[in-house]
Amino acid sequence: MSSLLTDHLLSLIIAVPFIGMVVLAFLSERKWVLSVTLAITLINAALAFYLWSQFSLVESGMQFVERMEWMPTFGIEYAVGVDGISLLLVLLTTILPPLCVLGSWESITSRLKAFMMLILLVEGAMLVVFTALDAFLFFMMWEVTMVPMYFMIVLWGGPNRIAAGLKYVLYSLAGSLLLLVGILALSLQAGTFDIQSLAGFTYSENSEFWIFLALFLGFAIKLPMLPFHTWLPDAHSEAPTAGSVLLAGVLLKMGGYGLIRFCLPIFPEMAHAFAPTVLWLSVIGILYGGYMALAQTDLKRLVAYSSVSHMGFVTLGIFSFNNEGIEGATLQMVTHGVTTGAMFLLVGHLYDRTHSREIADYGGLQQRMPRFVAILSLFAVASFGLPTTSNFIGEFLILVGVSYENFIFVVLAMGGIVLGAAYMLWMLQRVAFGEARTDAARKITDINAREMLAVIPLAIVVIGIGIYPGPLLETMDASVTFVVERLAMGQ
């Protein structure tokens, strides 16, 4: 066991969800299914934290690397490893599922076992995506994440779930097609699927542009970037709570992670060439997402559009090509996963009670649900980057990073923060304050201990990082410096 823990820790973390799926297959009682899933996800989170404690802060390369031949004919390996950036996303990926299980404890009434298996499947697949060192493995698991999410939307979703699910699959497939083309073209030239070796190879002049574009579009759709974002509000709002949490919390981050892992180190010159366009698209996305969120009457859609805005910050940071920007972007990805995940959990708590996502159906919740409103307020203000929450640290670093490039982006992005304050506080005003507008809102009950338990850890994370971000930033510092140095070569 000790050797398993020390030598194959990463594979163990990846395997736990899949093993959990098998275990779940033999269970039938509702209580058991829930608690076993919770236990499995908690074990995995604990393992991920153990991984973090064993992580060396000074090394810039991959750690905990494990390689195994898989399809030797094509040079495809099972190769996993983590650096600082992927470690943080692994942590995020393992923190959210237990909270999803808690959040859907009572709300999932039909086919519970299947639902829990899907949660585990998403978790497992995403862990591989964030740790894969082999481009083929990366792509395969990238595709696999789509399947459980689709089923979650279509089987357990809201009234428009079919259309939303189709749209989600359609966009995802378009993105992964481009990604597939890009990855195949890469490995055809370089003759390997190993991501680190891909970065060292020089590609032919004219192919470089197209490969970069294909990869970039593939990741941009997932993020999503303007103008490929329209799948997101539909998918988010129709998905069940756990689906929305995983979708917004972790799945979107695959796009940002892909940009840092593939686009930047493999094509530094192309990244520099594309940077102005991407930066402009990012700030437009920040403002556009903010405006769209202001117009929403549906709570989940509001949060979904706010994600578009926040993901604009992520690309803004990544394409400023310096430590401040990229570390800010990674922190923003983690922190957005936590806040938006919590927002969806909270909206889910409301939805469980009244079966309405309309802002207009609530009002005056503070009188009936003081605990809920306190936590909702915390995450609402965190969402627009109030200082002392982690979002502020991320946004501040991104703004400093991009200020080295061009100051106009700072000014424009600031507009996005103001818009963020506007839609979040306006939402809070209409939902939490004033007088209840419907009978359902008048009779609503405050959240119970289990529901509190689902969001309190996230609240601690948000404030903890906001006050003391050091450990997270130190974790990724060496890895980001490595990427930045690689990028500096492309100038």
Binding site: T73, F74, E143, V147, Y150, V154, N160, R161, I162, A163, G165, V169, L170, L173, A174, L180, L188, L226, P227, F228, T230, Y288, Y291, M292, L294, A295, Q296, N323, E324, G364, Q366, Q367, P370, V381, P387, T388, F396, L397, L399, V400, G401, S403, F407, V410, V411, M414, G415, I417, V418, A421, A422, L425, Q429, F433, G434, E435, P469, G470, D477, V484
Partner: protein
Amino acid sequence: MMIYVLIPLLPLAAAFVLAIFGEQLQGKGQRLVIPAVALSFGVSFLAFLDVSANGAIRVQVFQLLNVGQLKIDFGFYLDQLTVLLLLLVTGVSTVVQVYSSRYMVSDPRHSRFFALTALFTAAMTLLVMSSNLMVTFIFWELMGICSYLLISHYSERSSAARAATKVFLVNSIADAGLLVGIILTYLSFETLDIPEILAIAQSANDIPTESLTLITLCLFCGAVGKSAQMPAHVWLPFAMEAPTPVSALIHAATMVNAGPFLLVRLSPILVLAPNAMMVIATVGAITALFAAVVSLTQTDIKRVLAYSTISQLGFMIMLCGVGAFVAAILHLIAHGCFKAFLFLSTGNSLAGTHRHLESSQEKPALSSSGLFIGALIMSLIPALVIFSGSYQFLWISQSSVAANIALWIVGLGTIFFTAMYLFNCVTTVFQRGPTGASDSEPVVRPSLFSPRHVFGITVVVAVMIALLIGVWRWFAGFLSPVVGGMQAQPASEFSAWLLLPLFAALAGWIIAYYRFSHPGPPHTGIWKKRLYVFFLNKGYFDEIYDVFLVRPTIKFSGWMWRRIDQGIVDRLVLSLGSASIGIARRLGYLDSAVDNRVTSVGTGSVTVAHWLGKFVDTAGISRTVDGIGQGADATGRAARHYEPHTLQHNLLIVVLWLVAALGFFYWIAG
């Protein structure tokens, strides 16, 4: 040195304990908060003694950020300016907490109130103590959110909820400017450490004046927001929705002072940007005058006090703008103490809905004399401050004669109007008595112009002048190490000009008294009426913002969402998808004719294309349904129709995709 960490830590700890155990401590929150804040005041006093004996102190706590070139230390920098503000903040906070323990009794959200006021105290002390501009910004915003949460204390009132949102949004726009300014400072100075920045600013540096002007204006933008200067002044009257102790603590005595504090803290940068200082002085002057006139016309007593705060803050900002930083801080502290006193002494008679001057049903009680004395002193403060600190005031204004005269006029006008509205306020409530009160009830009215009072006032004024001149000398000497610019020593000779402010205040009193004792038909003449209505409506700022800023933004966002996002962006991508299906289909047929190996890929893509076609159609159908709004019926039918297929299809398709991809790869590689 580390003992000074207790200053913010004690209120912070009290706030956390209350936040977590609030339900158990219901009604007893003050027993925790008052000792914490009072102890914090005690430690502040120690810091004051320490600093006045040994000079500035630095305390390093931990490193907040160390990324790339950016290094942010979380630490404290206590100098003369800081300790003065610490005393003000913790002192006023203690008094207000003691007062609130009676005022908020039996309030359902008792713990929340005390937790938030304690958190606010911690944030404000951290703000003044912070040694780094970014940390300053953090607590700047934290104060803002405390203010937001306290304004929405009576959250059942939708007016309170609306006011809270409005207040925070106005501030967040200004704070965006502040953050821009901080990042600009970082780009120019390459550090955000306040002592380092000040050292760079005071030494010879090659930072161009233009960028210094820009930095100063951006930082001033934050001060405009927090200190309610025009055009962002609209938030302060709305903030009066908060419970009265909050109005006293946050919206009159402490938080609003953050603006002048920031300007004085960064005064060495300010003096390097004379153009920016001109802007600051102008904004402050306009605000001071405008708000003074507006408060003359208001009938809601809390609103009168709010506009009076705006006016006084404008005065401080103006003093900063002309380089009289020490005078600004003296005014700040004097105003903070007296405004808190004023609010608290009126608090009981203002409780609840009886806030209108005309309809006040309260019998004048002991509190009335409090309001009375507070008002008297208030009206004299600007005069006295100018009087005592005018040497500095005169010094810098020599730069431009026109500006000098303009600022003098504005300053005197403000003093004049301040005296007038405060007189109005006091006499209307307590002399004339509440309107609508039946005559049968005997009303005790303090008579204002008894010889006793006149004598008392004369003595008070004389004593205060003497005190202020004495205090001023010590004060100017004490603060001189921290403020920028050339500091003129207080001259000893007496200048007749310095009597002008006193005369202005006196004139205000006399005119107000005349109007009070000779109530003629009010507001005759079309111009007079229009002007009155204009100021009664606070210059229509709220309406203008609402019509030209708020509503268009909301409307525009709705329009953009329906027309652009759903109408164009969404459809564009879908039509791109359907176009590619056609291509894929054709490619599939072509390929199948070529090679066996290719055939497999071809059939794969044909299947995919068929499937894509089906999916696009479905999506298209539901989209049209959504768009035209034929009802959920059709969507439901479409959904029922497609559900059984899509499930199996989808799994199949994903598998097919993987197989096709593998096949394609095999064909290429092999």
